[in-house]
């Protein structure tokens, strides 16, 4: 009688497996329980045994092929009829007859019938739980907490994963899944930029807008994007096109208690340093205070994430999908560097640039960053511009 062996349900959540190695071939004789094939799931590699002895008639699937749970792997011509007509005493005796109730009148565990039922349904072992109810009774909450905790875990604080946090999380996960990220890190000598900015900031009346490095970085980025337009693009896989944007909307990643939110400065190429500075302040304050408008969160083409006071040497920022590039700016700090054979102290900053490798290759990314850094290292044109438009 021909018997079809299907890929069984190997474990929780496993829907398919990869055929690693066939242990038998068509025409082979097999015994009952003899392993036929090795299957790899994302949990483990298992051997699938034959339920019957007989001859292998057909094997389905090549090594390396992915097969679904429930699909036929092997067809075996069995020795004996598949339906067992012989009456034998059953193989495995089952434990404990109904006469021994599990609880008993003085069970060590204090739990009411309702709680015991809940524990049964959730697969929780009551003796493992410390009851928080009166006289040490196990409450329904105790059971639910134990069910949620990892095996062998202790006390746990459960924070709901929902709302903005969940939204951000889902967005980040999608970005990572869709785009193969790579990060390129370089350092920039911004001593000149620092000097000039301090000069300017010192000469400004206090009521004037707070001027950080960000407006300069934005300006440099826009110039860089004009020269390397591929970094100002988005990949539409469905339409199979790379959409290169001819407008420059720079997102400024802003930290809020709920998570990182990215307000967007529209048409950054058309704004002056001071206008940028003003808009940065407005948008980031509004974002932190939860007042930011929806349209200010949309339409970005490139994102800058400033790691500010925390510093760090290097980061691997996650793309603000579907943008193909994101620039991480670390802390500006004084470092000892070698210039013309001498050790000098310069204001240095690290820049971490993450890119979607489907659209941007390493060389292009590196060249963009090089160009960006050269602009920051010789900031004269920015200040000239500022001088013209204050």
């Amino acid at each position: 009688m021909a018997f079809e062996l299907k890929l069984p349900d190997i474990g929780e959540g496993v829907v398919e497996g990869e055929i690693v190695r066939w242990l038998v071939k068509e025409g082979d004789r097999v015994e009952q329980d003899q392993p036929l094939v090795e299957i790899m799931t994302d949990k483990a590699t298992v051997e699938i045994p034959s339920q019957y002895g007989g001859k292998v008639i057909r094997c389905f699937g090549a090594e390396g092929e992915i097969v679904e749970v429930g699909s036929t792997l092997v067809v075996i011509e069995t020795d004996e009829p598949v339906e067992e007509e012989k009456i034998e005493p059953p193989a495995a005796p089952l434990p404990a007859p109904a006469e021994a109730p599990r609880q008993g009148p003085a069970a060590a565990v204090l739990a009411t019938p309702a709680v015991r039922k809940l524990a049964r349904e959730l697969g929780v072992n009551l003796p493992d739980i410390k009851g928080s109810g009166p006289a040490g009774r196990i409450t329904p909450e105790d059971v639910q907490r134990a069910a949620a905790a990892p095996a062998g875990g202790g006390a746990v604080e459960t924070i709901p994963y929902r709302g903005l946090r969940k939204k951000i999380g889902t967005h980040l996960a999608a970005a990572k899944r869709a785009a193969p990220h790579f990060t390129y890190v370089e350092e920039a000598d911004v001593t000149e930029l620092v000097r000039r900015r301090e000069e300017l900031a010192g000469s400004q009346p206090p009521t004037e807008v707070r001027l950080t490095y960000l407006p300069f970085i934005i300006k440099a980025v826009v110039e860089g994007l004009k020269k390397y337009p591929l970094l100002n693009a988005a990949l539409d896989e469905e339409k199979a096109v790379i959409e290169v944007r001819k407008y420059y909307n720079i997102g400024i990643a802003t930290a809020t208690p709920e998570g990182l939110i990215v307000p967007v400065i529209k048409e950054a190429d058309r704004k002056s340093i001071l206008e940028l500075a003003r808009e940065i302040n407005e948008l980031t304050s509004a974002t932190r205070e939860g007042r930011v408008k929806v349209e200010d969160l949309r339409g970005g083409t490139f994102t800058i994430t400033s790691l500010g006071p925390l510093g760090g040497l290097l980061a691997t920022p996650i793309l603000n999908y579907p943008e193909v590039a994101i620039l991480g700016v670390h802390k500006i700090s004084k470092r000892a560097v070698v210039r013309e054979g001498e050790i000098v102290v310069r204001d240095m900053v690290n820049l971490s640039l993450s890119l979607d490798h489907r659209v941007v290759d390493g060389v292009v990314g590196a060249e963009f960053l090089r160009h960006l850094i050269s602009l920051l290292e010789t900031p004269a044109p920015f200040f000239k511009e500022m001088g013209q438009k204050s």
């Binding site: 034998e88 109730p101 609880q103 003085a106 069970a107 049964r120």
Partner: protein, 467 residues
């Protein structure tokens, strides 16, 4: 011929079988319920229900004759056993109809026929419409039990009868010997005594109601004496012979041989599981040395897909144990995570006064290593009991001295059968003495006695002396 396929076949429509069938139907399974005799099993037709009906009637008769102290004069009170049987039968029929209705609503197919195995999941059903073969995905054996016999005594339906015939008598016997002083013999013996029969009880072990605590049984034996019921313990019935219209029973006692005259002999020596006739060997299953079919706490036998519950799987042979197992088995068959998980099964005896116990007795608790704390309240101190003329008996609560956790509740006295559920709940909830003692029980009731007994254990009692 291809056999008809059914999802679940339940063999036996007693309190276990029909409960499982209805529960399964409500859980979405298609059930076929087979019984060879009637719907409701022994419980409904020849046990629990009929016996309680007759016992209540007999007690009412007795109460009316004793009501003179209340100022009620019932001059000519008499018993018409035939009419009583009709009334009882009416109740049985009403309940039986009810079960059929419930089965119908749950989509359960009812077959009156005899089921036997032809293979692991193949069964032959022989009914008056012929024979049918069914293939069942799941089988639930709930075939119950039948009255047991002892050497020298076989049922003939007339002179040597079981509880089944005893509940169908149309005439109160003038004299009867009851062999077997367990709860069935005691209930029926006391009942017929109230109806006018001269009853003698014969028990093989050294106390009536073996297994029940001595102090509880003492209350009953005091009443037996008052009612003029003779009894012999450590007594073995050896045989019988016809004597005129009736019989004489030979009984061996420590004091010597007795020859007891009687119109008939009621044999209540225990019940045996009904598993022969099922052809279990076709499935590979076998019964254990006591005749029960072994199952685990999910009511599964050693053959996947075959389940068993009730009297067929073990003691205690009680309808509510069966119903509980039916519930769990139904859930397991329906794929839910269910298991037998109870703190205790209450046991009730409808003697007069009634007995009801749940959990550990004083002796059992001590055997398990507990240092016990006892609370006791006699019904003689209960105002309510006095107003019902039933002041014999007591409530006893057994607790663990160190934690004051309730281990057992034992009641002998009026309405014990209805008072015990508080004890069962206390055990399931893991209650401590304080939980019962500090719950307000209404006054004036019999249930207050449980509160008082708990208080007595704690030294807080008002209406009795604290220990």
């Amino acid at each position: 011929m291809t056999a008809r396929r059914v999802e679940v076949l339940v063999i036996g429509a007693g309190p276990g079988g029909y409960a499982a069938a209805i529960r399964l139907g409500r859980l979405g399974k298609k059930v076929t319920l087979v019984d060879k005799e009637f719907v409701g099993g022994v419980c409904l037709n020849a046990g629990c229900i009929p016996s309680k009906a007759l016992i209540t009637a007999a007690k009412t008769f007795e109460k009316m004759r004793q009501a003179g102290s209340m100022g009620i004069h019932a001059e000519s009170v008499s018993v018409d056993l035939e009419r009583m049987q009709e009334w009882k039968q009416g109740i049985v029929e009403r309940l039986s109809r009810g079960i059929r209705q419930l089965c119908k609503h749950a989509g359960v197919e009812l077959i009156l026929g005899h089921a036997s195995f032809a293979g692991e999941r193949k069964l032959k059903i022989a009914s008056r419409d012929g024979e049918e073969t069914l293939e069942a995905e799941n089988v639930l054996i709930a075939t119950g039990s039948r009255a047991g016999e002892i050497p020298g005594f076989s049922f003939d339906g007339k002179l040597i009868i079981s509880s089944t015939e005893a509940l169908e008598l149309k005439r109160v016997p003038s004299q009867m010997v009851v062999i077997g002083g367990g709860y069935i013999g005691m209930e029926l013996g006391m009942m017929y005594s109230k109806l006018g029969a001269r009853v003698t009880l014969v028990e093989m072990l050294d106390q009536l109601l073996p297994g029940f605590p001595e102090d509880i049984v003492q209350v009953i034996t005091r009443r037996l004496k008052k009612q003029g019921i003779d009894y012999h313990v450590s007594a073995r019935a050896r045989g019988w012979e016809k004597c005129g219209e009736g019989v004489r029973v030979q009984v061996e006692t420590p004091q010597g041989e007795l020859s007891l005259p009687a119109e008939l002999v009621l044999l209540t020596v225990g019940r045996r599981p009904n598993l022969q006739g099922l052809q279990l060997e076709k499935t590979g299953l076998a019964v254990d040395e006591r005749g029960f079919l072994p199952v685990n706490s999910r009511l599964q036998t050693q053959v996947p897909g075959i389940y068993a519950i009730g009297d067929a799987v073990g003691n205690p042979m009680l309808a509510h144990k069966s119903s509980k197992e039916a519930e769990v088995a139904a859930e397991v068959i329906a794929g839910k995570r269910s298991e037998l998980d109870y703190a205790a099964i209450p046991a009730v005896v409808f003697t007069d006064p009634e007995i009801a116990t749940v959990g550990l007795s004083e002796k059992e608790a001590a055997e398990r290593g507990f240092e016990v704390l006892i609370g006791r309240f006699p019904f003689a101190a209960s105002g309510r009991a006095m107003t019902t003329l039933e002041t014999e008996g007591f409530v006893k609560i057994v607790a663990d001295k160190s934690t004051r956790r309730v281990l057992g509740v034992h009641i002998v006295g009026p309405e014990a059968s209805d008072l015990i559920s508080e004890g069962a709940l206390a055990l399931e909830m893991g209650a401590h003495l304080e939980d019962i003692a500090h719950t307000i029980h209404p006054h004036p009731t019999l249930s207050e006695s449980l509160m008082e007994a708990a208080q007595q254990a704690l030294g807080e009692a008002v209406h009795v002396m604290n220990s």
